[in-house]
């Protein structure tokens, strides 16, 4: 596995972040403050949980970096095919991981879940529905991509999708979210857009 994509991205990020651009610095401060404020108000906050969320970010960014090489020069390889192949080959890592670390707890948790739901059929329905919608939302994201929109527009759409998820989950689960928490989340979203615009400008300047 070549470290080249990772090194290139790290270099580019370093160039952007260490450039004396007030906009980049301000946008990063905006993001960090926004997340800190939202975290401070969050009842269910935990450092480990946040660490896992950051790890997930890192994993997905690295996936994106390395996947670009997979799409070059291979016949019949488009986004959704690649996603299917990635899902299949991820099972190589995922199945042993889950068997090793969690399988001891499955029987007990399963019986508790069935007891909570009332019947095993309801449990299966929930699982199947989750799986179906997981695939559907990924499939639809590729269908949106294939409408010919630019990657930047798609990223904007992705962020808006997360905002929609945040709003619907708070509405349905009714977890306590204070006004300050909303302000912090909005600052994080705004900071993300601001950073991507500022980083783009810095990139243009560096390219000259």
């Amino acid at each position: 596995m070549s470290l080249l994509p990772f090194c290139e991205a790290a270099e580019l990020t370093r160039d952007i972040v260490c450039s004396y651009s007030g906009e980049v610095a301000s946008s990063l401060v905006c993001i960090i403050l926004g997340v800190l404020v939202a975290a401070h108000q969050e009842v269910t906050f935990s450092w480990i949980g946040t660490g896992y969320a950051m790890a997930s970010n890192l994993g997905m960014v690295l996936r994106g970096l390395y996947s670009r090489r997979c799409l070059q020069g291979f016949e019949g390889m488009d986004g959704i095919n690649l996603f299917g192949l990635i899902s299949l080959s991820s099972l190589i890592f995922c199945i042993p991981l889950s068997l090793l670390f969690e399988s001891h707890a499955w029987p007990q948790a399963a019986s508790a879940a069935v007891a909570a739901l009332g019947s095993e059929a309801a449990m299966w329905q929930l699982l199947v529905a989750g799986g179906v919608f997981y695939h559907l939302y990924n499939q639809l994201s590729y269908m949106v991509l294939y409408q010919g929109i630019s990657p930047v527009t798609f990223s904007v759409g992705n962020t808006m999708k997360r905002v929609a998820i945040i709003v619907t989950s708070v509405a349905l689960f009714k977890n306590p979210v204070s006004l300050l928490s909303w302000v912090g989340s909005a600052a994080a979203v705004f900071g993300t857009y601001w950073y991507s615009a500022a980083a783009w400008r810095v990139r243009q300047q560096l390219a000259q």
Partner: protein, 170 residues
Amino acid sequence: MVLIQPRLWRPVSQLSSRSHTFGRACSCASARTRAVSSRHGSETRYIASGSLDTDGSASTLGLGSYVALWFGTSCVFNILNKLTLNIFPMPLFLSTWQLIASSTFMIMLWTLGLHPKPKLPKRFLFHLLPVAFFHTVGHVAACVSFNMMAVSFTHVVKVCSYTSAHPQKP
């Protein structure tokens, strides 16, 4: 060789009004892909296929409906996921289950011919394994995070990865 994003899915407006089905879109797309590959022989070129609608508003409606469905299914998935985690707090099992679901769907699409199968030379697996590893890390870590904290806060943290992590042509 200039590689342009292949438009394998035509906008909804270009399909006949009777058949807005998955299968129809896929079979039209695969026919076009085959025609392109046969014209250029062994050298495969991805050409931006499919002419755009002259009536811009119709394809905007198509894009809008896809985006609305995308947002809707994402929200439903996240809610179902959290509901499942609330009663069955096994994130590793759930993330594996979701990957199995996705793989099953794609295998179904490939075997039924609803989407063109990719051709896999030997070196492809070598390129694919690191991608699969990072995807596993990203997916499993997210599920664990959903289990530990509220869905809304995890997504506030995830909003900060602005890089389009979608596998796509550069």
